[in-house]
Homo-oligomer: 154 residues x 2
Amino acid sequence: MTSTSAGPVTHRRQSRPFVWEGGAVLAYKEADGTFRSVTRQVLTGAEHGQGTCLRYFEVGPGGYTTLERHEHTHVVIPIRGRGSALVVDRIVRLALHDVVFVPGWGWHQFRAADDELLGFLCAVRADRDRPVLPGGEDLAALRRDPRVAAFIRV
Amino acid sequence: MTSTSAGPVTHRRQSRPFVWEGGAVLAYKEADGTFRSVTRQVLTGAEHGQGTCLRYFEVGPGGYTTLERHEHTHVVIPIRGRGSALVVDRIVRLALHDVVFVPGWGWHQFRAADDELLGFLCAVRADRDRPVLPGGEDLAALRRDPRVAAFIRV
């Protein structure tokens, strides 16, 4: 890492590809059965002066993030591997460096391919609300679309 | 592209690698002799609800961005090719997916390798000040470090 005398480091290298120095590879969130094989690294935060946090999530082969929604938005850019996502009400196949936007209150879930991991950058506001999980009526509504029904994991 | 009924598109694909649908490949800025071989694409903006803009810059082989500084910060992640940067007062060699932070008022300039382009994501606040170019005293101060003196292009 390269630091200036104060404030965040100015150059965060990787100790190996997709593992950044100066931060831990964290559990995605408290294990609650809503996700599988997901790690999280925090790349930037409020101290970087943009009001946002940038995180890197990695989903192992066959894994998935929590199906959830919230008021705050996501900007997501896959940078490793292969996968797909539910974004609001559509299933999208992700190519590296596609830009995915999850609008406020849009349902979303990211899944790695069965035989390959999926790693992506995800930007959020530093000051944000907590995610909400789907209830029975939400799931019923989502499952009206057979593609969505086949995709989601809860 | 995949849209919801209103608001920004939820999935911006690439028509070819590193060229995103639904936006133009723009000139870096008005030609003023301070840079060479740089293009710009705007990936997200204020309409994405995070108070930031995400841009993709591509610097051709041998090219460089403007040596400048400003109050607002940069978060930069190289995602294509090879290059190096002046960040505040140090020259750093960039690996893909390193995280570079340019603090407020830090001098910075990005250069591609002589034989390979450099492409990077760059996040900024949507509401930001305009860059300032170095004056004679600034350049003299920067050039006191021989590595910086050899690196910068003005």
